[in-house]
Symmetry: C2
Subunit: 316 residues, 2 copies
């Protein structure tokens, strides 16, 4: 068991250490958003949001594969949308796969509270990252057992600390932290004919530790303290299909609806998980965004918000 706080794990701390449960410290938001992709945004804490129980249920149905199509009981007191106050958002990453997700605490509010409605303005506070970063899709050579990672020239010059070109060849040691605050160490060298930037020593441990394959992407961010952050985005592989082994998907569906109905009846807070890369539909959206869509007739009753599909190039 490591001490909490900054774990200065030596290079080669294979991320597969199965002993650590949960996250030791809070996830870096820039890195989280980087891994989530350019199209993902979360409503700000304290704002009003619209929660769609049905959309939420669909995310879970998409994550699990439904086993049987048992009828779900009706929840007559459950509306198709609920105006909620977003109390809390915590960012998470699966310790096994580095998959990012968010936990949100919602509290249903009185719908006829006109004041609250007006308070939610349309300030486009894009809490998205503006920091310097680069994202590269891994080639077959990058993930092969022979040799390291070929760093695009522009990317290396923009993100990495400058090399001392008086050395022959110019090289340095890079340290980068992943979502779990593990430190990965790489040898960054500028060599070859023609010259190019490469990550050699340490790279293969990262690839095997994160179980990366050609087609997956890596993401380097230089934060405001000039520290390097390191994330991954996996290619869209099969939907994991974690058949749960804990709860039937029926019970999950029911659980979502019953929890929402209970919270709605009591105006009590409840908790949802939002997995930006797994789900096709957003089920928690800013009230302002919803209102705007309503009033510009872009949405009609029964329609749902759908996330645009990410393109391969996005965020590169």
């Amino acid at each position: 068991m490591k001490a909490p706080g900054s774990t200065t794990a030596v290079a080669g701390a294979t991320g597969t250490s199965p002993s650590e449960g949960g996250e030791r410290k809070s996830i870096n938001p820039e890195l989280w958003y980087g891994c989530a992709g350019p199209l993902v945004s979360l409503p700000p804490v304290g704002s009003l949001v619209v929660y769609f129980p049905q959309g939420h249920s669909e995310q879970v149905a998409a994550t699990m594969q439904k086993d049987v199509d048992v009828q779900i009981p009706n929840y007559p007191n459950l509306p198709w949308k609920m105006i909620c106050l977003l109390h809390n958002v915590t960012l998470h990453a699966d310790p096994e796969t580095d998959e990012v997700y968010a936990q949100m605490t919602l509290q249903p509010v009185n719908t006829n509270d006109k004041e609250a409605f007006l308070a939610s303005d349309l300030s486009p506070k894009t809490n998205r990252l503006q920091t310097d970063f680069f994202c590269k899709t891994l080639t077959a050579s990058d993930t092969s057992t022979h040799g390291g990672f070929s760093v695009p020239r522009r990317a290396a010059e923009k993100i990495f600390p400058p090399l001392d070109f008086s050395m022959q060849p110019p090289a340095q040691e890079l340290q980068a932290r992943d979502l779990h605050d593990n430190v990965w160490t790489f040898r960054h060298i500028y060599r070859g004919q023609p010259k190019r930037h490469l990550l050699t020593t340490g790279w293969s441990l990262f690839v095997s530790g994160k179980r990366l394959l050609a087609g997956d992407s890596v993401l380097f961010i230089r934060d405001e303290k000039q520290q390097l952050l390191l994330g991954i985005r996996r290619a869209n592989r099969q939907p994991t299909n974690i058949s749960s082994s804990v709860l039937s998907s029926d019970s999950m569906q029911i659980g979502i609806l019953a929890a929402a109905a209970h919270a709605y009846a009591n105006h009590s807070p409840f908790t949802v998980f939002y997995n930006p890369r797994a789900s096709p539909s957003e089920f928690v959206i800013p009230l302002a965004k919803y209102n705007k869509a309503i009033y510009s007739h872009q949405i009609t009753l029964g329609m749902r918000f759908r996330m645009m599909f990410e393109t391969e190039e996005s965020g590169t």
Copy 2:
């Protein structure tokens, strides 16, 4: 993607193949019971069982770590126990960890149907394995990178095909299927001074593929067709703490209770997952066993069935 049916994967089919979802064919019951441990038994299909919603809820609470202690709504129509007909049992194994679990379809029955009660006799139909098998807890040497697996003499002679002792040294190739029907190939050799049975080539791939550590156990079974089956039992490590990323534990708790209440009200079937190694309490037990306990005053209202703790030696 492999063809369904018997996949004659070559030795070294690392079980970590992340592409296969679900099981291709039904799990071998003998192997499943072997991996589950000697104290686990499942009620026979078609029999009457007692289902405890609270015990079920506790298993899930034990599997997840509860994040917040939000109050669970009351389900006034939900009794503390439900007599159910066990419609169906399917055996499963987690494709990542090989953890065994069972899926059961239950249907609440009319409690005042005396006839059904009497029909559930106490025939101790122990559907447990009587086949030849051995189970060994892995030593540091067994899991080290240098060398293979030391097979206990009695075990090798009882389970493995006999060696041809005219060879020098006597050796053969063994093939064994795991829970997912993957074939693992090992070189079985009798050598050393003093002589002993060893598994060499192929063993380290198995250890790394299953991510076995010293203290975990392996299990070899010879079935009625003289085929070798191969399973694992992991040492009791930390409770995985899969913080789900899908559903809050509150929603799960609610889902269990609401699903049970719904099924109870409508006499409709519902599905539960039973994880024998994760949960401290059984929540589906044969009605006959329950009645026997009741009538011999071994159980009182409010008590729950608890599984004995397995000892390290059990099943060896």
